[in-house]
Point group: C2
Chain length 123, copies 2
């Protein structure tokens, strides 16, 4: 008989430590993948931001956001991820995107003001 | 000459709309990939949670979190993603994971109390 009762998973301390390392390696691989996907996502949303600024479209689009949330909640449920978390996640990402879009729009407006001033000077 | 000046990107309204749809389709594909990666990540962290509860390890691990944040900031910088955003993102995910771990630990403690009570009754 061991001095200490075995943990409910039957692993001793070394076994538990090895299992923790194995799981953390997987988490680190997944995080690297997600960071690269998000980098690509922001490349797309930066392009959307420039497009919206050039065509004077509003930065936020509540109808599109509603459809995105509905779709991601369904995808999450099928993947056994908490749909409420998927919604929180998208809201978190969209808040960052809108912040970017507003910066792009402000930069575009500044550039336009400068161009108008320069245009007036050369006319 | 067109009645309206062309947008700075040279696209007319139909062109801008088509470009917006193209970009949004890419964003939707990326979001589906990220949701599935996060579902897999939470499978790993649920296993970590059970392991920590079984071996009475603390739910949070600030040293590990510090290393994760440093690594993701570096990966983000290489991928041209704002490192500050990568850090905010990881903090957001870890907050959810700790919430899960605390739930698992509380459930494990409840199960143990019930087992003790049952054990006392049958002894």
């Amino acid at each position: 008989m061991s001095e200490y009762p075995a943990a409910p998973d039957g692993l001793d301390e070394d076994g538990a430590r090895a299992e923790l390392i194995r799981l953390r390696d997987s988490i680190d691989n997944i995080d690297a993948a997600v960071i690269h996907m998000l980098a690509e996502r922001f490349k797309c949303t930066q392009q959307v931001g420039r497009l919206k600024a050039a065509h004077r479209l509003p930065a936020a689009d509540p109808a599109r956001e509603g459809r995105q949330i509905e779709r991601l909640r369904e995808l999450a449920a099928k993947a056994k991820l908490d749909p409420a978390f998927a919604e929180k996640f998208l809201t978190f990402i969209i808040a960052e995107v809108i912040r970017h879009h507003e910066t792009i729009a402000a930069d575009a407006a500044d550039a336009e003001d400068t161009a108008s001033v320069n245009g007036a000077r050369t006319r």
